[in-house]
């Protein structure tokens, strides 16, 4: 009888353990839950388009500043409000004659953090 109790008790313990771990994994397998980070990236890394996106995973709605430099010249300096967990796509409009042969740097900042992405065109 005691061995049956042990087997049943262990089965229950394992179900509890599995449930706890499964729930923890499912909740945390998420870009936002209990996390504070951001990311900036070009929508298409393979070509020379400058469309880019900022994702807010800081856990709160945040205002991001972004500056775009062509060579050493700052051509855009804007701010954008992004909700927690949301993504903002941005398509900068810059005359094509200013772009050719230059490095285009996009500098995104939130509080003290900077996220730089750039393409050499």
């Amino acid at each position: 009888m005691s061995s049956k109790i042990i087997i049943i008790a262990v089965a229950i313990l394992l179900i509890i353990s599995f449930s706890v771990l499964f729930v923890i994994e499912t909740k945390n397998h998420n870009y936002d839950y209990n996390k504070t980070w951001s990311v900036a990236y070009f929508e298409n890394p393979r070509d020379n388009s400058l469309d880019f996106a900022i994702e807010n995973h800081e856990g709160v709605a945040a205002e991001y500043g972004y500056k775009i430099f062509v060579g050493d010249d700052k051509v855009i300096d804007e701010k954008v409000e992004i909700n927690a967990g949301a993504k903002q796509q941005i398509s900068p409009v810059i005359p094509s004659e200013r772009l050719s042969g230059n490095k285009v740097l996009i500098e995104v900042n939130y509080k003290s953090k900077d996220y730089k992405i750039y393409k050499s065109l």
Partner: protein, 623 residues
């Protein structure tokens, strides 16, 4: 989330308990044993899991050979058919005569624990499961390197419906089939908690398989009860326990569950001279061969050591003993199983490591510094001081207490001695495998000796005077054992999870998978400084070696063979001549690195554009 959890909780018993239960019905009957082959409910319950694992593997191998696409309904049907066949065999063998035979056979009381023993076992198991759960709660998002490699192959099985051709001896099919089966039936993906939960399940069942082995070897319920504490609670996190579960060291975790099962049947086969147990030894050994080469290798050495020691200690009767054993192995049930497994190995599926080159790599003089063995200090830090001290005490106590001509003596000593030599001076046995991998198996005989030591200790000191000193010594020893043995568990509660790092890695991999053309673009990512990077390949499912990876740096210096160094040079020295030549040769045009370390260097290189930047990961495009 709830439905997913329910699916998983229902699938695990269907895949990993039901087939084993029915299989045992067919062999042993419903309640007690038939014809003197005593096997208790406790043992049957424990053995259901390893048997199920082997059976499901064999079913999947057969389906694959028959070119039947591996899908959920197919697997459910195949498992149910197997269960029905077992049930029919049970009805044929025991159905009509069942009640009469059950009345005739006396219940086996080897595992009929007293109330206090049961309470002790339950407390040990609560502690064992609690410590592991607490540890895994910080590592439960799939991120471990080994697990990532294994899950690539599991996902390949899921995607294609066929077993993969690895093209390398590093992976064994048994490490992957059960995960694929659970996924195909439950729908729970591999990038969830599922793989780790299955490994945790095998790890906990492993504690039980050691216990049933001890129960049969020492025939003492006290030793069995203590073994739950020693195997379950002491060093619950250190390898080969919690860290191997979270680390996805799949073969070792399964091997640590299956080795005691094979040893259990081997012991009972020789002791009780029963062909059914011989057959089940062959069954579990073949299952191990399909699951993990190193564990099978260790088992072969362990069995050889036990046999040789037993024959030496019974030298006068050596021919008689060998004759008896041969007759035992040449009976119908073992012969039938030998035939079935020969068929499996030769016709249905040959494990990838079954070739002279792979065997040659594992045997002979050690070829690397990592294979020349461990010093005693290294062994101590590997297996844990408490376990080593208790094991040594058990070794000495059994030296005096056990009868040398008994099989249990050869078991206790032979198993420990051979694994100790394989860890300490592997060259003596012509073993050429990494010593740290072998040392983890010392855990098994040490649990056996330690449990024996803790229980037999008082029996040595029987007089009142010696009992006082022995009690003082015992409490000192227990204090040391508990503080030392639980020290790794205490660290669990100080650990900080790495969930954000993992999710950033996954995000960067998903970004690349969505934007690059894997037919044209070649990606290189850094294993050294990106957390959970081995899971990158699951986002592409293009090839095991896609994306390319800069590995651990010391691996590039291999005295046994030249290694390619481009994957290192393209990250470590991207602007050097060697680095530039490597970019040209390999065609790598995307590099994913740690933003804070290599990312800062790459930002200074003029030939790269930075297309992705997060807190942890930067991705550069080669212009």
């Amino acid at each position: 989330m709830v439905i997913g959890l329910l699916k998983l909780i229902l699938t695990i018993p269907f895949v990993l308990i039901l087939p084993g239960v029915l299989f045992q019905w067919a062999i042993f009957g419903w309640k007690s044993a038939f014809g003197g082959r005593k096997i208790s409910f406790f043992e049957k319950a424990v053995l259901a899991v390893p048997f199920s694992l082997i059976i499901v593997d064999l079913i999947v191998l057969l389906l694959n050979k028959l070119n039947i696409l591996l899908k959920g309904p197919v697997l459910v049907g195949a498992i149910l058919i197997f269960c029905l066949v077992c049930f029919a065999a049970y009805q044929l063998r025991f159905g009509k005569k069942k009640s009469k035979k059950e009345e005739e056979s006396e219940p086996d009381k080897t595992f009929d624990f007293s109330t206090w023993q049961a309470v002790f076992i339950l407390l040990a198991l609560v502690l064992a499961i609690f410590i592991r759960t607490a540890y895994l709660s910080d590592t439960i998002i799939p991120s471990a390197t080994d697990l990532g490699h294994h899950m690539y192959w599991v996902q390949t099985i899921i995607n294609t419906g066929h077993l993969p051709n690895y093209g390398m001896p590093d992976f064994i099919i048994g490490e992957h089939m059960v995960f694929a089966a659970v996924n195909l039936i439950s729908g729970i993906g591999v990038m969830t908690a599922m793989p780790v939960l299955l490994l945790l399940f095998f790890n906990i069942v492993g504690i039980f398989t050691i216990a049933i082995l001890l129960g049969r070897v020492f025939e003492s319920k006290k030793i069995v009860a203590i073994s739950f504490f020693v195997a379950g609670s002491l060093y619950a996190i250190n390898p080969p326990q919690g860290r191997y579960v979270s680390g996805g060291v799949v073969g070792n975790v399964m091997g640590d569950m299956l080795i005691p099962v094979a040893m259990y049947f081997f012991y009972r086969a020789l002791k009780e001279k029963d062909q059914i147990f011989v057959g089940l030894f062959i069954f579990s050994f073949a299952g191990l061969l399909y699951t993990h080469h190193l564990s099978a290798f260790v088992l072969i050495f362990s069995i050889a050591a036990v046999v040789i020691l037993y024959l030496i200690l019974n030298f006068k009767n050596i021919f008689k003993i060998i004759g008896e054993w041969l007759r035992l192995f040449l009976k119908p049930f073992p012969l039938a199983l030998i035939f079935i497994f020969a068929l499996y190995f030769l016709v249905i599926f040959t494990p990838s490591y079954f070739n002279p080159a792979a065997v040659g790599q594992a045997t002979g003089e050690p070829t690397k510094n990592t294979r020349i063995g461990f010093s005693i200090v290294q062994i101590d830090s590997g297996v844990g001081s408490a376990l080593l001290v208790l094991g040594a005490a058990g070794f000495l106590l059994s030296l005096f207490a056990l009868k040398r001509k008994e099989l249990k003596y050869a078991f206790a000593f032979g198993w420990f001695l051979v694994l100790f030599v394989m860890t300490w001076k592997p060259g003596l046995l012509y073993v050429n495998i990494p010593s740290d991998r072998v040392s983890n198996y010392l855990f098994l005989p040490l649990v056996l000796l330690s449990s024996y030591a803790l229980v037999r200790y008082f029996e040595v000191f029987t007089s009142d005077t010696s009992r006082f000193f022995s009690t003082v010594f015992l409490f000192t020893l227990l204090f040391f054992v508990i503080t030392n043995g639980l020290s790794d568990s205490a660290d669990v509660f100080k650990a900080k999870n790495q969930f954000q790092g993992i999710m950033e890695t996954f995000h960067s991999a998903a970004y690349l998978a969505a934007t690059v053309d894997t037919n044209k673009d070649i990606i290189l990512k850094d294993h050294v400084n990106i957390y959970g990077d081995s899971w990158y390949k699951l986002f592409f499912m293009k090839d095991y070696k896609y994306p390319l990876s800069r590995g651990v740096l010391m691996r590039y210096a291999d005295p046994t063979k030249p290694r390619e160094t481009c994957t290192r040079d393209m990250i470590s020295n991207a602007e050097s001549d060697a680095g530039k030549a490597c970019f040209a040769d390999t065609g790598v045009n995307y590099v994913a690195v740690n933003a804070q370390i290599e990312g800062n260097s790459f930002e200074k290189y003029p030939d790269f554009s930075k297309v992705y930047g997060s807190d942890g990961i930067s991705i550069f495009r080669k212009d």
